[in-house]
């Protein structure tokens, strides 16, 4: 008992040493300060008066010499104004030009395939959720409406409503709708509602901030593009110089890779640990580990009209690493991003296959990608991505089914080039050699992303 108590005492002493020294002089200092304060006030006022005089002179001089330029002449009275110390201190920290802040993101693309995308399927990896190829030809992408504001002094709220096109019809969804605390003590915060899980690097990034038009294969196969669900998420930021964040969430378990809201609607939980830092001014990095356990109760995947049905547990581990470089950290001019993630999944349970009975299933699968994006000068970027999947042998019983992997591992090679006139606009050209869902398929696409309204966040 004694040893830890001493340790705590030592910590307390460390933290109180400096103020103790300061107090011995405080009486004398108080007198000095009072004098000093009077002097400072006085000086400030004199300075302002002097300025006013000077400005008047300047104004007079300026009027004579530069009358032709008068429309360019900005006000020269910056310092005549008397500050109101607490005025408007809430201003400018968020998108406060309107309350709530509203932003709309427009996306659209034209995509071309060698083979028919309706026949797309990755052997061994029946896709669920939103995963799958983009529509062929000209198409409107997701139109995303973001609305956010602080609720009061303790809560902030966020809503993302995408309007998608499904079978030619506009479909309005609630993609994110969450409330988050702002004033919990001890480095904690709690988010509730519907949100993208904080697992992995890419999972909580909205599609308009991706560096490629589509998600890597591993995200498509294991997370249905992106895992989002309804529930609670707790984050804790460690009080250390090194960034260290721990997060835990429990969610309903209604979305792929979960399904059917198992355990009376507490179907999945996830954990993440993330760290990162800077190396000099030019380099920064982030690394993380995440775990998702999703219980699936009659989860559907594969062909929508004739799905495979899985009941069991899906365990997913994810490791992420991101490294960003910009000379002196000035990323507007030139920058480079390297990013890689590794995903490992085990699914244990049973599959009901179309036209056959219930088969026990216990299999490991892996996926990874790495990508590099380089901005050689303002507005232009080029990028390369390689993504890859592999699966263990699920057993003879699955011969000839969608769960049997092909003879070679699914993989893709993608290159892209994009141009951004401003922070709010981007046009992208992408080429993908797909050896996953097809046999050496050449895919080409052009995409646009535009945003209006609320200023987007520059997340790492």
């Amino acid at each position: 008992m004694r040893a830890p108590a001493l340790g705590v005492l030592w910590v307390c002493l460390m933290s109180s040493a400096v103020p103790a020294l300061a107090q011995t002089e405080s009486e004398l200092d108080a007198l000095r300060a009072e004098l000093a304060q009077m002097r400072a006030d006085y000086e400030l006022r004199i300075a302002q008066l002097e300025k006013r005089l000077d400005e008047a002179e300047k104004q007079a001089a300026g009027d004579q010499t530069v009358s032709l330029q008068s429309e360019n002449q900005v006000s020269t009275q910056a310092d005549l104004w008397q500050p109101d110390p607490y005025a408007g201190q809430m201003a400018d920290t968020g998108n406060r030009s309107s309350n709530p802040a509203i932003g709309v993101i427009f996306q659209g693309q034209v995509w071309s395939y060698g083979d028919d995308p309706d026949d797309y399927g990755i052997p061994g990896f029946p896709l669920g959720g939103e995963a799958g190829p983009l529509p062929e030809g000209l198409a409107l992408g997701e139109t995303e409406i973001n609305i956010s504001a602080n609720v009061d002094d303790k809560f902030t709220a966020w809503l993302t409503v995408p309007i998608g096109i499904e079978d030619g019809e506009a479909v309005v969804e609630i993609e994110e709708a969450w409330i988050e605390t702002m004033t919990l003590p001890a480095g904690l915060s709690l988010r509730m509602g519907r949100f993208y899980s904080n697992i992995g690097y890419l999972n909580d990034k909205h599609s308009h901030s991706w560096d490629f038009t589509d998600q890597p294969l591993a995200y498509q196969a294991f997370l249905g593009d992106q895992y989002l669900d309804d529930g609670l998420q707790m984050r804790w930021l460690a009080p250390t110089d090194l960034y260290l964040e721990l997060g835990a969430q429990v969610t309903r378990g209604d979305k792929y890779p979960a399904g059917g809201a198992a355990h009376s609607g507490f179907g999945s939980y996830a954990l993440h640990l993330r760290t990162g830092g800077d190396i000099g001014f030019s380099n920064s990095w982030q690394a993380g580990l995440s775990y998702l356990q999703a219980d699936a109760d009659e989860r559907e995947s594969g062909n929508e009209d004739d799905p495979l049905v899985f009941t069991g547990e899906s365990d997913l581990w994810m490791a992420e690493f991101v490294w960003k470089w910009a000379p002196n950290g000035n990323n507007k001019q030139r920058n480079f991003i390297f990013q890689a993630e590794y995903l490992w999944r085990n699914e244990t349970g049973s599959y009901t296959l179309p036209g056959s009975g219930v088969l026990p299933y216990d299999n490991d699968q892996q996926g990874w990608y790495l990508q590099a994006v380089y901005q050689p000068f303002p507005r232009w970027r080029i990028g390369f991505r390689y993504d890859h999947l592999s699966s263990d042998y699920p057993g003879q019983a699955f011969d000839g089914t969608a769960l049997m992997p092909g003879s070679s591992d699914p993989r893709r090679y993608s290159v892209m080039a994009d141009w951004s006139n401003s922070e709010f606009s981007r046009l992208r050209l992408q080429y993908t050699l797909d050896q996953a869902g097809f046999d050496d398929d050449n895919q080409w696409g052009l995409q646009y992303i535009f945003s209006i309204g609320a200023h987007g966040a520059h997340s790492f």
Binding site: G7, D29, R32, Q89, N95, P239, G277, S422
Partner: protein, 299 residues
């Protein structure tokens, strides 16, 4: 087991326990000002350095950790940091520095902002409807922010209240004297015409009586284009301006191009402390701005 806990606590202590007032600022000029006012009784770090465009950095991990541990945040505001500060505050989980609390100070709230516009149409670029945020280039503004910052530091760290106020008085005296000197030296600059890379200098221009006749950016936030530079060459080819100025983090190609063809001197000015070898503190920073203008100009 007990020994091990003690050892862990002792190892963690330097990470967790710090007596100083921890100040996180968004721009280097406020870091320099905090050092003037707080001396060695504060610990201050800046999110950006003088070679970075403060509008475009990202909410990177190291900054989240610093926001999480800060006692006071000082930023220019007026939407300069809108792309990353709200994100840092959200991820920093630190109620002490949330907007509206004593631990959050917006420098531009304490000065008169220029170019406040009700028209925030983005066809005119990434304009800031709350006014131009680059307030630091008028030294009178720096003095106003100093008063606000010292008051806030004293409020948060009462034990050192007198220390901060003494430092403020001392700084105000030296700064006021320096301003008088700068204004005397720069009377020859009044009415000089300036082409700026970006609208970063309007407070400096207002202070010194310079006139901004154009910007190299076609609209705010959009990098200079060949066609826009061509039109500037047409307009100012006959020495229709006295300076082409840019900040260190802006590409030197456009200003060099125009300078070569028009004979108007291209001048690099430090936009903040650290923006040149000479600009080592607030005083030498303004000294350097003025020296560079005086030595480059045809006066």
């Amino acid at each position: 087991m007990k020994n091990r806990i003690t050892l862990i606590l002792m190892l963690l202590a330097p990470l967790i326990a710090q007596a100083d007032l921890k100040i996180f600022v968004c721009e280097p000029e406020w870091e320099a000002l905090a050092k003037e006012l707080g001396g060695d009784r504060i610990e201050v770090s800046s999110a950006t350095n003088a070679l970075q465009d403060p509008h475009y950095i990202q909410a990177r991990p190291s900054l989240i950790a610093k926001v999480g541990r800060a006692d006071l945040i000082v930023c220019s505001g007026a939407q300069l940091e809108i792309g990353w500060l709200p994100m840092l505050l959200r991820k920093g989980n630190n109620p002490a520095v949330m907007p509206g609390s004593p631990g959050f100070l917006t420098a531009s709230d304490y000065v008169k902002k220029l170019d406040v516009s009700l028209d925030n149409d983005r066809s005119r670029g990434d304009v800031h409807p709350q006014g131009n945020p680059h307030i630091q280039t008028n030294p009178h503004n720096v003095l106003l922010v100093a008063g606000a910052m010292a008051e806030r530091m004293a409020e948060l760290d009462k034990a050192n209240r007198d220390f901060y106020q003494l430092n403020l008085a001392d700084f105000s005296q030296r700064w006021t004297a320096a301003i008088a000197n700068w204004e005397e030296r720069t009377s020859v600059l009044r009415g000089k015409r300036v082409i700026a890379h970006h609208k970063s200098w309007i407070y400096l221009e207002a202070w010194l009586g310079l006139i901004e006749v154009a910007t190299l950016e076609p609209v705010s936030g959009i990098p200079p284009t060949a066609s826009h530079l061509g039109s500037l060459l047409e307009r100012f080819g006959d020495k229709g301006a006295d300076y082409i100025i840019r900040a260190p983090f802006q590409s030197d190609t456009p200003s060099a191009w125009l300078s070569e063809r028009t004979g108007i001197p291209a001048v690099l000015l430090p936009l903040t402390v650290g923006g040149s070898d000479e600009a080592t503190n607030l005083f030498t920073w303004f000294d350097d701005i003025i020296n560079r203008l005086l030595s480059a100009g045809d006066l």
